[in-house]
Assembly symmetry: C2
């Protein structure tokens, strides 16, 4: 995705390899394991090069976020005509992808890092993480529900509010719990189904069965 190519430094292969090692250290040992000396040792490079490439520690962290974001691409297939079933499928696929991304080791580690740095006044890393990591997935979902509305399958006034509803139904407090160290869900797919069913019940134009919501017997 070339878009917003402006603030993407595009690191060299060598630098990307170093960033990969940095992510590995971070995932395996948390922030305290990510030291300049440790990274230089793990990546077989010199500390001097680290400072030459990334400026200082914060620059390194920012580069790690950019590097990770550059690996996550979301495909925008917006061609086909939407049917109710197709919309549901796409929403569920989005929900599963979202849950999978949020539960990923690297995502959790980077979020922990940025949150640990943040204060009341805000956080440079936090902003970076939200912009780089979130924009893609937000765009994908917004495009999808917008398309659903244009196809007459969804109804809402505020697309942003509807998206936040969908997000909340999918994720609930799971993200924070995982950030705090709790294990993830056993079955992401089931959670995705239930969330999308609820979302369609709230914002769908066609009558929805409540079965998947767990409001009727048998499960």
């Amino acid at each position: 995705m070339r878009a917003d190519a402006t603030d993407m430094p595009e690191f060299s292969p060598r630098q990307n390899a170093v960033l990969e090692q940095a992510l590995r250290l971070l995932v395996e040992g948390g922030e305290k394991a990510l030291t300049t000396s440790g990274l230089a040792r793990a990546a077989n490079c010199s500390k001097e090069s680290l400072y030459k490439w990334f400026g200082d520690r914060e620059g390194l962290l920012a580069a790690m976020i950019a590097h990770q974001a550059s690996k996550v691409r979301t495909f925008e297939r917006s061609g086909e005509r939407l049917t109710a079933d197709l919309l549901r499928d796409h929403l569920e696929l989005f929900a599963r992808d979202l849950l999978e991304v949020l539960a990923g080791d690297v995502s959790l580690a980077l979020n922990r890092l940025a949150i640990g740095q943040a204060t009341r006044e805000g956080s440079k890393l936090g902003k970076l993480l939200l912009e780089h990591g979130r924009r893609q997935i937000d765009r994908r979902a917004m495009a999808l529900i917008d398309q659903g509305k244009r196809a007459g399958l969804l109804r809402f006034d505020n697309a942003d509010a509807a998206y936040h509803t969908l997000y909340g139904l999918i994720v609930s407090d799971l993200h924070v719990r995982m950030l705090l160290g709790e294990p993830g869900l056993k079955d992401n797919a089931r959670q995705a189904e239930r969330a999308v069913a609820a979302f369609l019940m709230l914002h769908g134009t066609q009558k929805q069965s409540a079965d998947a919501l767990g409001v009727s017997a048998g499960r």
Copy 2:
């Protein structure tokens, strides 16, 4: 884990004052501002006393969590008969309280601290925070929706799942965003209204108007 009252060390007034200073430092400057020397200076006590009272740094952090949790008590008023309006009011009150708690400076700072410490293997602090900080509010909500079901006002199979739905509708990704340093909502009450309206639409037994959901014109 045994009874809840047992593992509450009940610190002395002096110690509570020190913990209060510790929370202040943490809120104002993040984890890096909470050093033993800094705390001793701010609280006019000696480092030796800190180690005598709390053992080590992790003990201090745990004590801070316990201290903060001991300040937040939720009242359980479960007497009265529920009507649909009353249930809605109580749910909205819960939603507003939840949003207010999550947006609190101390809550955010403690969550940032615990998340920053956490790794893949889990976190002692994270467990503590979830147990001490969350149990109260979880219980209150569970009691409420359980009561709603017994009164025939709500329907669901799995109370836990229903509660998570409610939680997700109320909070969405707001908690993580605030943890990352973004400002909170402008109007918690409005968010509470919309979340409860959606929840009642999903799990209420009486027909709900969709007005508050933003699916009809005019707002």
